[in-house]
Amino acid sequence: MSEPLIEVKDLKVQFNVRDGIIHAVDGATFTINRGQTLGIIGESGCGKSVTAKAILRMVPRPGKVTGGEILYHRRIKSNGSEITDIVNITELDPDGEEIRKIRGGEIGMIFQEPMSSLTPVYTAGSHIGEAVGLHRLVPIRKVGAQMVETIQAHRRISKQEAREIAIDMLRRVGIPKPEQRVDAYPHQLSGGQRQRVMIAIALSCEPKMLIADEPTTALDVSIEAQILDIMRELQETVDMAIMFITHNLGVVAEMAEEICVMYMGKIVERASAVEIFYEPQHPYTRALLKSIPHVGKKSRERLASIKGMVPDPFNLPSGCVFHPRCPEYMPGKCDRIVPSWTQVGENHWARCLLYEGV
């Protein structure tokens, strides 16, 4: 179960803009195991989405992966046995054939804005059909039909088959009357339905991993709950890893098994979901958790917020980037020494000088 799927090692993404260089992701290291859900949380602009896009080699224009590696453990079937082949995604051509096979086919992604993620001129069905057609896989496998499966995997899917798959996928993501909705245009669907269609597209090729970049931010709470349920349900049936990016702590608590907390391009703490919420070690995580409003807690106090402002990305503070806002700031230490990645408990890591004994 704890077999790694994606290993991100010391990933660095820089944006070379006119005013200088922005270190959007600065040495991110984490591993996603097969079938596991990893949550990534952090404020806006901390590098969550860029990390996700780097995995698919889709960092927008001035940005560039300048260091580190992303290792994708790909399972290949040959002669009846499974071999794990390690692909270094950072070395692939971002416009090449290889990465396009991975995109969608092996790693699917869903975006924040369901309203604008579907091409307005195509129906829901043709979107799903497109993804299926591009990767030429038959996603619905029949048990015990190994022979059929290998034949299907090597031929192009017909339009009729793609349509049937589309209808089936729509049914699986819980869209009512999928036979009719398959012909609906994006403007005829509600926000929740569009996000379901997005999930259906991403899942139609049975990817090994799903990157969900704030998939429920634009939806209202009841729809959000439904979408999360669908994702979890489907994850169980197809054994897929999820990288769940959000700034909603409640959502991540519900979804993720392991959580990474990011701040200014750096991962500052990593632990299991339970530990992050009950025993947060890094002062930033603690501050983040304090800023959640609690229902039923009567108090005249104002809601706690992290003091200070997010620092200017061109002019990062020396030492620990969090020190100007840190409630446990140690003068003379935090502003001089860059904290290193320290183990603070079993499977619990943090990047803070409090645990380094300096």
Partner: protein
């Protein structure tokens, strides 16, 4: 049970209401655009497809009546009684002694009834169905009979037939040229807008370079480069290509602008994340979004194409006889003498005007209809 079925079908119809059915629904409400559309269909079917059927004479027919005036159509028989069958009066040749010039007068004693679906000179319908039926004509048994609704030209050819045949080339150059311009402009615009950077600069400088040329001298140079020995049909295609070469830039710019804004949309990113290639993103996800805008521009550009051909041929730079186009017809009226003595040769002008106006009416209607979600 029966009651439940009704909303079921209604709902189904509502779901299948695509963008284009909304466009059509809105387009139908614009009467002027409908008129324009019908006129264009008429023009293209009469002149383009079935010219031989609608024209009473074939293209190479020459009568003995040189520069004859149009014959008025009457609904009277020989005795002066009303009859449903239209007829034309015969023409009588006279000599004007002071001008030393031949001219024709209507001879009211001779009357030639017009018959419909007459058998006259044989031709091939649509290029392959051999037939000899024309929409109208005079009695084929009477060799004297003739019908020149718009008069004849200097060589005695029926102007009405020639306008119909001329429309074929003029209208087709508009359509064919516009299809080529459309394709070239869309592809170049998409490439320019999608890739940006150096590609964009190169394509944009190309459009500016082509656009910066003064039109007429460029036409003269290019037309002069067409060898005289080429067959008229080759010359025709060359002229189309020249027109396309000069006009694709405008559309390419518009498409580029639209693509620049569309490529930043989330759905492009989404399609990329499913593994779509650049070409797929450009032609399947981006270009359809610009299509409605481009169809309008293209429709509004067709009259310009037709007028260019007319102007060029009029200047003698475009099509040349024996090809017949509206420009060639007008070139024959380019002297004061013709206007003074054979003003009916200008009948071509209203046809050019009507064709151009219909395209503009259709284009305007399309422009309003293509945005079915916008109010107005």
């Amino acid at each position: 049970m029966a009651e439940q079925k009704v909303p079921e079908t209604n709902k189904k119809r509502q779901i299948s209401q695509s963008y284009w059915s909304l466009v059509w629904w809105k387009f139908k409400k614009n009467k002027l655009a409908i008129v324009g559309g019908i006129l264009i269909i008429l023009f293209y079917s009469i002149c383009g497809l079935f010219a031989e059927f609608f024209a009473p004479y074939t293209l190479d027919y020459q009568s003995d009546y040189l520069e004859a005036r149009p014959q008025p159509v009457v609904f009277k028989d020989e005795e002066g009684n009303f009859s449903l069958r239209p007829a034309v009066y015969g023409l009588e040749e006279k000599i004007d002694q002071t001008l030393r010039k031949r001219f024709y007068e209507v001879n009211r004693t001779k009357i030639y009834p017009i018959y419909f679906f007459v058998k006259a000179e044989p031709y091939k319908l649509l290029g392959f169905i051999p037939t000899d039926i024309h929409l109208f004509g005079t009695d084929p048994a009477d060799p004297e009979a003739h019908v020149f609704l718009f008069g004849t030209d200097r060589l005695g050819r029926d102007l009405f037939s020639r306008i119909i045949y001329g429309g074929r080339l003029s209208l087709l150059i508009g359509l064919l040229g516009q299809i080529l311009t459309f394709t070239l402009g869309m592809v170049m615009g998409a490439i320019s807008g999608y890739y940006g950077g150096v590609t964009d600069v190169i394509v944009q400088r190309m459009t500016e370079f082509v656009g910066a040329f003064p039109d007429i001298p460029l036409f003269m140079a290019l037309a002069a480069a067409i060898p005289v020995t080429w067959s008229p049909i080759l010359v025709y295609f060359m002229l189309t290509l020249i027109l396309v070469f000069i006009r694709w830039g405008g559309l390419a710019r518009q498409v580029r602008g639209l693509i620049l804004s569309l490529r930043e949309r989330e759905y492009v990113l989404a399609a990329r994340s499913f593994g779509a290639s650049d070409a797929r993103l450009m032609f399947r996800h981006l270009l359809p979004g610009t299509l409605s805008h481009c169809i309008v521009i293209a429709t509004l550009m067709i009259p310009g194409m037709i007028l260019s051909e007319t102007a060029l041929s009029w200047l003698g730079l475009g099509l040349r006889p024996p090809l017949t186009s509206w420009g060639v017809l007008l070139q024959e009226v380019s002297s004061v003498r013709s206007i003074r003595f054979a003003p009916w040769l200008l009948t071509t002008v209203p046809f050019v005007l009507l064709a151009v106006l219909s395209f503009n009416m259709l284009g305007d209607g399309l422009r309003d209809a293509m945005d079915p979600y916008g109010g107005r």
